[in-house]
Symmetry: C2
DNA sequence: CTGCATCCCCAAGGATACTG
DNA sequence: CAGTATCCTTGGGGATGCAG
């Protein structure tokens, strides 16, 4: 007996496949690796932060983008929002278990890139001077 | 004049720090985690590919974006371009040692996201129904 | 096949002002 | 403090055409 599953297994037809244009995992990947998503998750990996702490930590985010990105990450179940009904308001953002899994890997990637920058910059100079 | 470097030193004054707006590592991170960069590196992680193979593998990339992203990755020293002076032309793209380091970590991240999609989708439903 | 050049649109995202 | 609402600009990126 040959099932559809058997016919297609072994290549990329796992339940979710980023390489497929329509796969929902691509959307989540973009939230996670987007311009601000990665930095926000990585910042929260070091501990929970309040809105404006996060804003200062991630140099260059606008209020709007921080708010918007946090909403997307919260919706995807990667970030938990803890609002305290005090005055003035205090809201803490922290990673969920799922979020820690993502952030841990993102953290590894980011530090690898940081540690590689000397080589990257050297490669750029070679590339540029080769066609000057 | 207060520079970003001065503002952040004492905290993360490692040679390179993605959290600082002006750090060159942020640019490279964006090449690597950009909309197409991540998928291209991840595709090449499984082996070298020709231009149109890559184009088919990464469902949805336009010719322009593939070409443009490959140039950025080549310039950063992550991808090696091997052109054969045949007719018709044949060009292979493969990861450099540095590129493999990045792609390996990216690959781990991407698969973690794919494997988490059921949970992500469930979280979205909870989030949406909670404010319907 | 492997691209580069051009046109063009639209949405990401910055700036600013306002609210609870 | 923690956001939301609005406006407006820029460039990301798709479509098309051409070339070696």
């Amino acid at each position: 007996m040959t099932t559809t599953q058997e016919l297609t297994e072994g290549l990329d037809d796992l339940p979710y496949n980023v390489f497929a244009k329509a796969c929902p995992s691509r959307g989540t990947l973009e939230h996670v690796t987007g311009r601000w998503g990665g930095l926000i998750l990585c910042a929260l990996f070091e501990g929970s932060l309040r809105f404006n702490e996060l804003r200062r930590r991630v140099d260059g985010v606008s209020e709007k983008m921080l708010s918007q990105t946090l909403h997307a990450l919260e919706r995807d179940g990667l970030v938990h929002r803890e609002a305290q009904p005090t005055n003035p308001p205090r809201v803490d953002y922290e990673l969920t278990r799922l979020g820690r899994g993502v952030a841990e890997r993102l953290h590894g990637l980011i530090h690898f890139v940081e540690d590689s920058m000397d080589e990257v910059l050297a490669a750029r100079e070679r590339y540029d001077s080769a066609r000057a």
